[in-house]
């Protein structure tokens, strides 16, 4: 049976492993498309920007593929968005790592983790919630997720209220943020076992809720998907 799900675009800008993100979103019921240019975002219901590494080369690669303006427009329109690791950091205004100007959707910048006993911060660590959000439905407070990074977003001013959850490695930093429909996680849900898959499923559920108009155009019966949540 062909599964009809919300259309989630995963941005490919040469920033490493996309296989597990694609697989995790597909398992959660999304119709996933890996996209490498701005035009391909037009018929998507949700957008995922993954990535690891430094901000400047990532922004340069996004710019080369004509993706910066479409991603900015997507965020400005408050459409469902999930930034993962570097994809979250890019939401801030700039990066201390290399001085790169980033997307600027959130006030603040990306800073080196302070007082960290080891860097990079690699491994499973606890994600402690500051407030409830559907992104974490069905996931225990304090659950372990997998992190691989040395920098993290430091929200300033009103962006501080966007923080959904914290993690501590040396200093405490923002592990998840949400402002409207724009979400971001510093950890890798696609590498965080069953809780990670649940979180991706929760994001797909949020995308689906926004995508209802076009899904209703699908012939009756085609949208009946047992087990989807």
């Amino acid at each position: 049976m062909t599964r009809i799900g919300p259309r989630v675009a995963v941005v490919d800008y040469g920033a490493g492993n996309l296989v597990s993100i694609e697989q995790g979103l597909s398992a959660a019921g999304a119709a996933v498309r890996v996209v490498g240019d701005g035009a391909a975002l037009e018929d998507a219901d949700g957008l995922v920007v993954p990535g690891v590494g430094a901000a400047a080369p990532a922004m340069a690669r996004l710019a080369r593929r004509g993706l910066v303006a479409p991603i900015r427009a997507w965020i400005a329109a408050d459409r469902p968005f999930l930034g993962i690791c570097l994809g979250l950091q890019l939401l801030f205004e700039r990066s201390d790592e290399d001085g790169a100007e980033t997307l600027g959707a959130l006030a603040g910048r990306t800073v080196l983790l302070g007082n960290a006993p080891t860097l990079p911060h690699i491994g499973w660590n606890q994600v402690v919630r500051r407030r409830e959000h559907p992104l974490f439905d069905g996931i225990a407070d304090g659950a372990d997720f997998y992190f691989v990074h040395s920098y993290a977003g430091a929200p300033e001013g009103p962006s501080r209220d966007a923080v959904l959850a914290d993690t501590t490695h040396g200093d405490t930093f923002a592990a998840a943020i949400a402002t409207g429909r724009v979400l971001g996680v510093q950890f890798h849900p696609e590498r965080s076992g069953t809780d990670g898959l649940r979180l991706l499923g929760n994001f797909v559920g949020l995308v689906r809720a926004e995508a209802v108009p076009h899904l209703r155009e699908v012939p009756a019966g085609a949208t009946a998907r047992p087990g989807a949540s």
């Binding site: 490493g16 492993n17 996309l18 296989v19 597990s20 697989q23 995790g24 690891v52 590494g53 430094a54 080369p57 006993p117 080891t118 860097l119 990079p120 911060h121 690699i122 491994g123 499973w124 660590n125 606890q126 372990d144 997998y146 691989v148 990074h149 040395s150 501590t168 490695h169 890798h188 696609e190 590498r191 965080s192 076992g193 069953t194 990670g196 898959l197």
Partner: protein
């Protein structure tokens, strides 16, 4: 709090998991993605594939198993063995690996470490150091499966590759590897005292107490083992219980149908 990781290592040759005294008398142990998924369910925090395929023309097989593994086991995957260039590293990452481990190729050309780190980020670059004790109480780096001295002091080499951009070190005691005598905690401590990146201990695990010692005495962030898990001498869960009992932070996983 950051958890101390338990990492099973799978030796892979020609697309199959093999077992044997490293590199000789190989016995087919099964399909890598299948075993990877089993370990993920049993609580592995991460997986390492060590590709020991002799023939470079068979490398496509490795990319295929990396991709099939990434689609089944939703935990981090490091691939080591035979990566000699930025392009080869890119292919392995695109297939679904999170990190690549460099060993002999980094010794031959240390700039490979910095080139890979600047392209993919240091978090994706693991440098594997195979070390052997020397008569003067130090350790020397060996390559080619431990057969050949590289002419480098292991501690100095560790500092150098971290300065070049390694985000993690996989430190194997060649003296202990396969012996079941426990990890060389003095070697581990000599390196963890000198570098700020996470260090994965390898070589010599016989039982859960060895994992505790690698972290507590050696300062390791993660502990890797192969045969004790493959041969089901100890489960990952049993190792984690021992670590938790010793006061070490570990990730608890749902009770697996092991």
């Amino acid at each position: 709090m950051l958890r101390r990781r338990v990492i099973p290592c799978l030796d892979v040759a020609n697309g199959r998991v093999v077992k044997g005294t490293r590199f000789v008398d190989l016995v087919d142990e099964g399909d890598p993605p299948e075993l990877a998924e089993r370990y993920a369910i049993e609580g592995a925090d991460e997986l390492v594939f060590l590709d020991i395929t002799a023939a470079p023309e068979r490398r496509g097989t490795l990319l295929d198993i990396v991709e099939r593994t990434a689609r089944r086991a939703f935990i981090p995957l490091t691939v080591g063995g035979g990566v000699r260039s930025v392009a080869e590293m890119r292919d392995v990452l695109r297939a679904g690996a999170d990190k690549v481990s460099l060993n002999t190729a980094a010794v031959a050309d240390p700039t490979l470490v910095s080139r890979c780190a600047s392209r993919f980020g240091r978090q994706a670059v693991v440098v594997a150091i195979d070390a052997r004790a020397t008569a003067d109480g130090g350790w020397e780096v060996v390559v080619k499966g431990g057969r050949e001295p590289a002419g480098l002091d292991a501690r100095a080499w560790a500092e150098r590759v971290v300065a070049l951009g390694a985000g993690e070190l996989l430190v194997t005691s060649i003296d202990r590897d396969g012996t079941g005598q426990g990890f060389d905690t003095a070697l581990l401590r000599a390196i963890t005292d000198r570098v700020g990146v996470p260090v994965i201990a390898s070589g010599g695990a016989a039982g859960p107490a060895d994992f505790v010692a690698a972290v507590r005495d050696g300062g390791a962030d993660a502990v890797l083992a192969a045969s004790i898990f493959h041969r089901r001498i100890h489960s990952i869960a049993a190792v984690k219980v021992a670590m938790a009992d010793a006061g070490l932070p570990v990730r608890h996983v749902p009770v697996a149908a092991a």
